[in-house]
Symmetry: C2
Subunit: 273 residues, 2 copies
Amino acid sequence: MNTNACGKSLSTQSAWYVQRDRAASNSVGELLRLMGVAVDDPRLLEGIAVSTRRVRVGGMLFHEGAHAQAIYFVAVGTFKSLHIAEDGYEQVLGFAGRGEVLGYDAVCIGLHPTTAVALEDSTVHSLALPDVFTLCQRVPALDRVLHLTLSRQLMHQVEIANLMAAVSAEVRLARFLVQLSERMAERGQSPRRLLLRMSRRDIASHIGVAHETVSRSFSVLMHLGCLAVCNREVEILDLERLKACASNTRGLADVHLPHVRQMVTARMETAYA
Amino acid sequence: MNTNACGKSLSTQSAWYVQRDRAASNSVGELLRLMGVAVDDPRLLEGIAVSTRRVRVGGMLFHEGAHAQAIYFVAVGTFKSLHIAEDGYEQVLGFAGRGEVLGYDAVCIGLHPTTAVALEDSTVHSLALPDVFTLCQRVPALDRVLHLTLSRQLMHQVEIANLMAAVSAEVRLARFLVQLSERMAERGQSPRRLLLRMSRRDIASHIGVAHETVSRSFSVLMHLGCLAVCNREVEILDLERLKACASNTRGLADVHLPHVRQMVTARMETAYA
DNA sequence: CGATCGTTTGACGGTGCTCAATCACCGTGG
DNA sequence: CCACGGTGATTGAGCACCGTCAAACGATCG
């Protein structure tokens, strides 16, 4: 029942200590199983070292500007990837869960352009950079999986732009929730009951609004009948209507706003009655 | 009174001719030269067909949802890549010039998730999808170049987010211009004199504001002394100050806004005097 | 039980989106 | 040659939306 485990994440963290190498036992098999790749001949995996690493909530998997040493496959947990501006503003770029790859954007230049922070206690399998191409050449299936993941990362561009291009805050939040729901569905989990691993502030940064506005937008979508919200538990009550909100380019004025106005106004009136 | 004194400097280019047929000759050599890759043994290139294709201004290189057949290396000209929402809204994701690769985001799923449109008469070298991995395996240098480009595409995520996350429209435009200037510098061209290939509406879509706001923001940056703007010709007069504007997370209120207010107000007053 | 952080809601002021008018530029066709 | 319509760019006026500041509440943890 600890939905909100992120108490004092960074302070209790004794320098994001890592439980290394139980990976003395090589976990390359776990990695392949995680990614749904079968290997006929075990000898193909000789010389390939995959270490398993735990990251506590609030801990950093890697830091912006750091030298890239491996790519990471999320086995358990959730991460946020972010970019820190000169003035310290945290721009959240996206969230990664089980089966997704982190740190690939550092493969080519050797430096991490982004930071990855765990949103809950998480586990990753890390594949050292020099082994990436070796393993991919030996296991074409993994190569294909990697390229699929990479393509998905490139399509995140479209998603990010679509998130932040919407003029209305409610539309942005609705699109974010629809994206989240679809990713849950892809992963075989319920697309209606979402357990948000990230704070309102993280969502706010990701969709480009103030965190208070996120709260307000949640309220509006609730009073529209789209959602039931309880802290970080979100239930999608009316996916149709939520998608209708999400697909509005120019705010949700066209269809729903009169209705919303009535409901919000009514709510405000009752609050003052 | 008039800032638009530059007249018809662009109109002299009106005469141009189409030469489509020369693509019969294989241009794999041109492609490698374009990307700065040297090949020792010409026999490595046997069986690899690279065709050259011209796209007129406004023409589509490929369309969203279309079956992917090749990846494209821009040799001459500029393209915008965009995503079309259900209601027809054009979300501009980015711009690609000489040496950049288009269509790579379709490699994995086989379908183009975006559309590419030429902003001027342009030329690309197209490498058929089945040949991509073949050529990359034979020419590791090209493979490296491709991965570099891919990494750059992934970093566009950060750039897009930074563009659209800024609260102030002027800051967004300033960041866009700084990005453009840096890309010009990378390409060895003058980072101070920019010739914008895209319309105000394209810029507006890319940075997530209304196109009228783009005009207004140009005016503000002009009156700040950062820029000299004449239609699509932009000269960066004070790069320091422009970067200062671009690095403001919370609008440019902190340092410059009082000054701007004065200048804008003064301008408005003189206009009505 | 107090402290701290996350979340929600309110009030106000400013920014930018919408609608609109004007101007400059361009290609067309009288 | 000029008149004409079309497009892109700029500027203005009005108002809705959201960012900021502020306060109150709830949750978690020491």
